[in-house]
Amino acid sequence: MPREPLLRLEAIDKSFPGVHALDHVDFDLYKGETHVLLGENGAGKSTLVKILSGSLPKDSGRIILRGKQVKITSPYHARSLGIGMVYQELSLIPSLSVAENIFLGRLPRRRFFFVDWPGIYKKAQQILKRLNLNIDSTVPVRHLGLAEQQLVEIAKVLSLNEQILLFDEPTSALSEEERQQLFKLVNELRERGFSIIYISHHLSEVPLVGQRVTVLRDGKKIATLPVNEADEDTIIQMMVGRELKEQFPKEETSPGKPILKVQGLEIKGALNHVDFTLHEGEIVGIFGLLGAGCTTLVRALFGLEKIDSGKIYINGRRVTISSPEKAIRLGLGYLTRDRKDGLIHPMSVVSNITLASLKGISQLGLLKHRKERRVGEKYVNELRIHPPDLTRKLMYLSGGNQQKVALSKWLCSGSKILIFDEPTRGIDVGTKAEIFQLFNQLTKEGVGILMISSELPEILAMADRIFAMRRGTVTAEYRRGETTQEKLLKSVS
């Protein structure tokens, strides 16, 4: 079908200081198709859609929309051209209601300046209903969970009647169920005539939503191919630029003595008599849908939630953990689910990496800069943090690279018990394997890892034992290899 594409990008080029983010990239999008953009962290996917959505200017190249060359000057302008963006980092205002957020900047007015309140609540409710969302449009956004916020974000864009929708990793915060719901939505929209550009890290999503795939690597376009030719191995090789031996390089270890033991942990309305033990050198996976209490459980272990009753033992000694400071002193480390909660954006990459191990790189409160740089370099190299510039401020890194920095912080902290809440969120396949390799190294040194993950293949392959949680209760425990995706899903829902 040699027809004119709805949108064509020609030789788009963009540089940031020290990084060539996009190198003469061509791209096109037909009416009524979903075009998936794939690539490792920092490959330039987000930059490309940011240029399209008007939030970044391009250095050179042409954007041709409906046969005419356009210059997109601002997000507002992009919207008026019919291009809407669902952001990766949430762009909602927490104190405003769902409806207000959906109509932000274009609240329907009655005469004079008066806002048509009943009207907007009604309209917002209709949009939410179209998405099959059971959310009250009058509730302030801060009362919603992360996943619900993400869905409101989508609702916000949908209300604009755009013809081109840009999705930047829309599923990274969603549970399995919500993810399925989103795919259904994306496909429905496409059938209605929308054209969609979809960025993802989940290769398994590609055949579910897309018709064509474009792979970017280091700012260059590697290839565009139809979905039926894009099997996982081909794509991975294109993304990584080399053959990847194993996605989950789990090495067998023999767990030692228990280092963390939890007995009858209880938080009213969230956790119900939770018992478990973590041994030296062991990876314990916790799996549950959103709201099952997994995150609450680990936050409680790290002194971030008040515990109503229950006992916690570390190395056989009973402890009370009242603050993160105390938790760290007891040898715990905690990678937050939302990486914004764990990173200091205006600080440099290296300062972020060493933030939880300042004691190790200082003496009497004086920092040893050379030692700090060595630590930083080690992780920048091992996790291939891009660009490899230690002094760059964290906010100028791409999302996946920020996640790598957040991980590095705990990997170098010397903690004996590491709690990872979605450790590979937003991280590409190649680096995931390297992170798991580091997990192996840590467990060999006797570190115990507690890992929450909604990625079934990852948790099934990497965890020595898996706890399934539902509504604050542990519903099942499996050893590695004892369970399957279906069984695990069944025990949490």
């Binding site: 200081p17 260059k220 376009k221 914004k340 939880a356 300042l358 200082s362 409160g365």
Partner: protein, 361 residues
């Protein structure tokens, strides 16, 4: 053989991007220089903004007025700017920690009054008097820090309350009169000791003592912010309080120490100012808090916290000093000087926003 190599290279490079290879042509070399040049400009704009502004100001004034470019005038400027510079160093730490201290002028006056009253009314030894003044400043700062962290109230509110409280206490202490003064002559045990006056008005080998004190405190402040775990903690708390907490950094401790240092520096500034004025009073250094905040802003520190540095603020204080001095020499009225300072603060911030947008993202 050759074919094989060709094959290899197409595998390594992807087919689309292996355009004519990257041989160093004249054009690419020039591009490289341009990008290197822009890198240098970027660095200057990023780090050196305030210093460049100061140099331009000096060059302009040197040509515009006959008396500006003289050693004696420069020494005069450093003496005048020292108080603001010392306060701005503390204010920078507070602001980087995402706080703001509106009480510095009042705490300065309270500490100065304490020292002056101690040596002239109570007849205490000079060193004890000075220590008492510094201690008063540090204690006030400590209390502010405790109120903010334990009372969980915004910095702005706590320091606003401290501002009026400290002024009030200073008025009570001095009974509203300058110390020492003709009105208080009856009570006088003695005038201010010469040593105290030397701290504000003296010099060593022609360099004003306040300037030397400022240099020492600048170095200390810079060391704290760049070389110590405390400095790192301040940046972290100011950059993202929740993330700092999860990384094991105590918000309470960091905040209290920062405000204590600020109070201590207000005490130092108070003693230097007392020495320069030959007297202390409860209403001295009126508006010093806003002056110090202006210096911090001109110096390029982000008012929302997490970014900035001590050295920029000291330069900011000197820019304000040079400007005041130059405008005096140009016979601009003091009223207009205030207007001009306001315009400069606005243009600095506008420029700051522009360079952030243009040169990094």
């Amino acid at each position: 053989m050759r074919e094989q190599r060709k094959k290899l290279s197409t595998i390594k490079n992807n087919p689309k991007s292996s355009l004519p290879s990257r041989a160093p042509s004249a054009v690419s070399l020039m591009n490289q220089w341009i990008s290197m040049g822009s890198e240098v400009i970027r660095k200057i704009l990023l780090k050196g903004g305030p210093i460049v502004a100061m140099l331009f100001l000096i060059i302009y004034l040197a040509f515009a007025t006959p008396h500006f470019f003289a050693v004696s005038n420069f020494l005069n400027i450093t003496r005048q700017s020292s108080i603001n510079a010392i306060l701005a160093i503390g204010q920078t730490m507070v602001i980087i920690g995402a706080g703001i201290d509106l009480s510095v002028g009042a705490v300065l006056a309270l500490s100065a009054s304490m020292s002056a009253v101690a040596v002239s009314y109570w007849g205490l030894n000079m060193a004890v008097g000075i220590l008492l003044g510094l201690g008063t400043g540090a204690l006030t700062g400590f209390i502010t820090g405790v109120i903010i962290t334990k009372g969980r109230i915004p910095d702005f509110v706590a320091t606003l309350a401290m501002m009026t409280t400290a002024r009030g206490l200073a008025l009570i202490l001095t009974q509203g009169l300058p110390v020492p003064s003709h009105f208080t002559a009856l009570k006088l045990v003695g005038y201010l000791p010469a040593g105290l006056i030397w701290l504000g008005s003296g010099d060593i080998l022609g360099v004003p003592v306040p300037a030397l004190i400022t240099v020492a405190i600048t170095i200390l402040g810079w060391m704290i912010m760049t070389r110590t775990t405390l400095g790192r903690a301040i940046y972290a708390v100011g950059g993202n309080r929740e993330a700092a907490r999860i990384s094991g950094i105590s918000f309470v401790r960091t905040k209290i120490i920062t405000y204590t240092i600020m109070g201590l520096l207000a005490g130092v500034a108070g003693i230097v100012l007392t020495g320069r004025l030959n007297s202390a009073n409860a209403l001295m250094a009126d508006g010093a808090e806003l002056q110090s905040i202006a210096a911090v802003v001109i110096g390029g520190t982000n008012l929302f916290g997490g970014e900035g540095g001590v050295v920029g603020s000291v330069i900011g204080a000197f820019i304000m000093g040079i400007l005041g001095n130059g405008l005096n020499l140009l016979n601009v009225s003091a009223f207009w000087q205030r207007v001009i300072l306001g315009l400069i603060i606005i243009s600095v911030v506008v420029f700051d926003q522009w360079r952030r947008r243009r040169f990094v993202l």
